[in-house]
């Protein structure tokens, strides 16, 4: 495909869309699908063909609209009225609104903080484009960043632009993306790889899944730009097998991009070749760790190895490898289109741009949100999230999954960025945000995460394999009211040991949920131990523990 052809395709698609008139966008991401979104789409399509509306109209399957709790969602165009909890039976009523007043019964207000307070860069196309049609993506400036990169920029220019943007890795650790690209670009080798980490294993996180299901071409475009910048021609996307819909849409997207010559050999008439292959995980949390992920791509058990050497020097099959997360790649096309300086103007001094969060737990509006860095937790939870349901009281918010921590109310007004989260003992992580109310027991939450780490430990290094088991045993005893103060002391000692001596991130960060809950909710631990009581009334205290 030549630049002119890409331009023509965009124009053609825009014209077709204009002629088609109003669109009824039906969310076809996993959340709405599991509450019947596909049936709604079917019924609307059928209703449209059997009784044509007055005006031209069509039904379109789109990606995530964000408010997953209220699914299935349907929106008229990309800025018309939105309808929630739509059922197939509602289709004829909905079709009538096309030539009349909006349907009050199902209306989902979009002038609320949930929609108004967000800033969408990564999610700009989510809920608007049909993820299974490359033309729709092209019509919204899709692949123009790749075009610009290949025709008007040198690899060094691209890396400079990414460095200027201040983008940091969205997988959790927040390593500067430009620096990583530069290291891989400088590495000397006949073969280099690009890997997209889509092994979103943190429980309570669904950002990457939503991006892949809603706008897969954006990730492919970001990867191709990265490949050109670092000098790689082969790439892998390592995606969780638990995300069948994301896998399917990626397969379709890759095939479509190859067919149009946007991936494959001699992309856009240049000498640049870039091939992307999908690799499925098989249910191992540790494979989100980059060295374990590479072992898994090679068809081996997903166990990590010591670093250095870092993947940038010696990665897949010993070759220099660039590994970035889904959201990181998804940020690349807009950065190239609008310039690094534009991106750097959003966010805080050390954390630029926006971040996508998966908001869930005891919160009124659960779903997918994108906000500028530096926003406060209070704004996210009480404005965008709509606060705590059922008149309950906020207790803590957990960020960063099993590697993160629980943040209590006193820090809700702190600006959200990589560094302030680290300061209060949590991490940004990949973007899972679980809100807990007064009915959650913080010791039980710590036990829950330790159970997770214990089961997911790959067993290669002893501190993690044995340490997580022992910490879990102690936490179970505490929740059952069977522990002594000496047990608590031992738990703290183990936290320190496992953190400092484990081989990879899984072990090193596994004590975080315990450490952070001990820091802010020590009284809850003490109540279980001293008074043999669970203040939240969540834990079952063993009878023999009664005082």
């Amino acid at each position: 495909m030549t630049p002119e052809e890409l331009h023509d395709l965009a124009i053609r698609e825009k014209n077709t869309q204009a002629e088609a008139g109003t669109t009824l966008n039906v969310c076809m991401a996993a959340g709405c699908m599991s509450s019947g979104g596909d049936k709604v789409k079917e019924a609307l399509t059928k209703g449209l063909t059997s009784a044509p509306a007055g005006k031209p109209c069509r039904v379109k399957g789109v990606g995530c609209m964000g408010l997953c709790e209220a699914g299935p969602l349907v929106q008229v165009g990309s800025d018309g009225p939105m309808y929630k909890e739509v059922k197939a039976e509602d289709s004829s009523d909905l079709l009538k609104t096309l030539s009349g007043a909006p349907l009050k019964r199902l209306l989902c207000p979009t002038d609320t903080p949930f929609f108004k307070r967000q800033k969408k860069i990564v999610l700009e196309n989510c809920g608007i484009v049909d993820p299974e049609r490359v033309e729709d993506y092209v019509a919204r400036d899709g692949y123009t960043a790749l075009l610009k990169a290949l025709n008007h920029m040198s690899p060094a220019d691209i890396i400079q632009e990414v460095t200027t943007s201040g983008l940091r890795g969205r997988g959790g650790a927040g390593f500067p993306t430009g620096l990583k690209w530069n290291t891989v670009a400088k590495a000397q080798s006949d073969l280099k790889y690009v890997v997209c980490n889509a092994d979103e294993g943190d429980p309570g996180a669904f950002m990457d899944r939503s991006v892949l299901e809603s706008d897969p071409h954006r990730v492919l475009e970001g990867m191709a730009i990265a490949g050109f910048a670092v000098g790689a021609s082969k790439a892998y996307i390592y995606v969780r097998a638990e995300y069948p819909l994301a896998v399917k849409r990626l397969q379709i997207a890759i095939r479509q991009a190859e067919k149009l010559g946007l991936l494959g050999q001699n992309i856009m008439g240049t000498t640049f070749n870039f091939n992307i292959q999908l690799r499925m995980g098989a249910g191992a949390f540790v494979c989100g760790e980059e060295t374990a992920l590479m072992a898994s791509i090679e068809g081996k058990r997903g166990t990590p190895r010591p670093r250095p050497p870092f993947p940038a020097q010696s990665g897949l099959w010993g070759k220099p490898t660039l590994i970035n997360n889904v959201e990181t790649f998804a940020n690349i096309p807009p950065i190239l289109r609008n310039g690094g300086a534009w991106y750097a103007s959003i966010g805080t001094e050390k954390s630029k741009g926006t971040k996508v969060f998966a908001l869930a737990g005891k919160i009124t509006n659960t779903g997918l949100i994108e906000v500028p860095m530096g926003i406060t937790l209070r704004e996210i939870i009480f404005d965008i999230g709509g606060g705590i349901p059922d008149g309950k009281k906020f207790k803590a918010v957990q960020t960063g999954g099993p590697s993160g921590g629980c943040i209590p109310e006193q820090f809700l007004d702190m600006p959200l960025d990589y560094d302030s989260l680290a300061k209060v003992g949590s991490i940004m992580g990949s973007g899972g945000m679980i809100v807990m109310d007064e009915t959650s027991c913080m010791v039980d939450v710590a036990r829950y995460f330790m159970d997770f780490c214990m089961t997911e430990s790959c067993g290669k290094c002893i501190p993690c394999r044995v340490g997580t088991t022992q910490m879990h045993r102690l936490l179970v005893q505490i929740t059952q009211g069977l522990a002594t103060p000496a047990d608590l002391a031992q738990l703290e000692e183990l936290c320190d040991l496992v953190k400092n001596t484990s081989l990879c991130g899984l072990g090193q960060t596994s004590p975080n949920p315990v450490v952070s809950t001990l820091r802010y909710f020590r009284h809850e631990y003490e109540a279980h131990i001293r008074d043999r009581k669970c203040p939240a009334g969540r834990c079952t205290i063993k009878e023999e523990a009664a005082v």
Binding site: M33, P203, E242, G283, G299, K300, A360, S440
Partner: protein, 165 residues
């Protein structure tokens, strides 16, 4: 000793082996296609066993020990035949906070099956998942592959019982 020229014989005339062979071809037929191939076996036959692992080992020219290691390392691979129906309760953080444990306890008690096991009559495999990513619908339960959101112990038990009858 297997040499490069020897092609391992397919374990049986079952046509499902063709799907497995196609998956190996599609992924290059090299050692790194191992996980994709095991996915294909499990999708076709429902589980992995010694016969299939041996065939995959010989086809991809990978030591049996490594195939067995991979098959047992990853949680999604199972070495036991699944029940006629499956019920998977999500134990992700959001589902846990919203009461997934109560669902598990209740179903486990009433159906007399431990999480991760299959009932003695082979009717139901009762499993847990790490996180389905359907956190907006917590607690989520998957019945025979279909995700359902906002479940309770009562309606989960009810739906499970209805499927079995």
């Amino acid at each position: 000793m297997i040499t490069a020229s020897q092609k391992p014989t397919v374990p049986s005339t079952d046509t499902r082996w063709k799907l497995v062979e196609a998956a190996m071809r599609k992924n290059g037929g090299q050692a790194d296609a191992l996980i994709e191939t095991l996915h294909a076996v499990q999708e076709s036959f429902g589980y992995l066993d010694d016969v299939s692992l041996k065939f995959v080992a010989e086809s991809l020219k990978v030591p049996f020990s490594r195939v067995y290691g991979v098959a047992t390392f990853y949680h999604l691979f199972t070495m036991r035949p699944p029940g006629k129906h499956t019920c998977v309760v999500c134990l992700g953080t959001a589902c846990y906070i919203r009461g997934a444990q109560a669902i598990i306890d209740r179903v486990s008690r009433e159906m007399n099956v431990e999480p991760g096991e299959t009932t003695k009559d082979g009717e139901l495999s009762f499993l847990t998942a790490r996180c389905l990513g359907s956190c907006g619908l917590a607690p989520a339960v998957v019945y025979d592959g279909a995700v359902a959101g906002k479940q309770t112990a009562d309606n989960t038990l009810d739906r499970v019982k209805r499927r079995i009858q």
